[in-house]
Symmetry: C2
Subunit: 151 residues, 2 copies
């Protein structure tokens, strides 16, 4: 029995795209947990913040739907982000069922640091791809994500 | 404000590999939750089972280390798989600190069904890739996973 199988042996050996993507996700999540803990946030909060840095005023449901978040998970995460004073919610004046999400002053101030973490993730994952390979690598992962969006 | 941003618009617009991978992971996890619930298991259990179908007798720590699982998460998941009568643990006679993982009869019987789910995931994610593109798509995702293994 090969007890000492390393991640690298396993990755080189497997051709299952879902397993490779899951491994990548888990590794990134694990690696950045400490860094995110400095801001009292976890991985789910990070993804929500990155979405809000792209566009404020989204509703919780729209965000959950377009980014594939689980509804219970996003509700919990937003409560936590409110508690940390990073986001706040405003009831839509035209439809009281809709709560729209905005960044507080503190949330906006965190933007450069949080985006830096995102930037770091992307460059670590794309290490060793040269400028010829990069666009097609992104297009392939995009195509996989578009398939995932059809699920 | 574009409230109705769909996953597809967002995916087509973004070139952040970590965001695309996270979206893919979340979508697959969400999509297969119901199917896995039929076996009283969740996403984490599925990944552990797939690993054991490749190789039984691994230790919990070796599995956590090589597959990037969080140690607390894997410990909990294995307890649950034991409770469901799907796996069992044996103390290594040469090193009593090591518990090795094996599939029960029930666990082995589930193999074709669980692997079918994995097969389905992979083919859904690779829909629309033709046979020319497929090997390079897998190589690119593998290269990304190898980067993640260095984190």
């Amino acid at each position: 029995m090969n007890e000492e199988e390393t991640p690298i042996q396993w990755i080189e050996d497997i051709d299952k795209i879902a397993a490779l993507i899951s491994f990548t996700y888990r590794s990134v999540q694990k690696h950045f947990a400490k860094e995110l803990a400095l801001y009292h946030i976890g991985w789910g909060h990070f993804s929500i913040l990155m979405s809000l840095y792209r566009q404020e005023g989204r509703s919780q449901d729209s965000l959950a739907q377009s980014r594939g978040f689980d509804k219970t998970m996003i509700a919990k995460s937003i409560l936590k982000l409110e508690k940390e004073g990073i986001v706040y919610r405003i009831t839509d004046p035209e439809d009281k069922r809709i709560k729209r999400l905005y960044l507080t002053e503190k949330g906006r101030k965190l933007k450069p640091e949080i985006r830096k973490i995102g930037f770091e993730m992307n460059s670590l994952l794309l290490k060793g791809f040269d400028s010829d390979e990069l666009p097609s690598a992104i297009e392939i992962v995009r195509k996989i994500a578009l398939n995932a969006a059809q699920l």
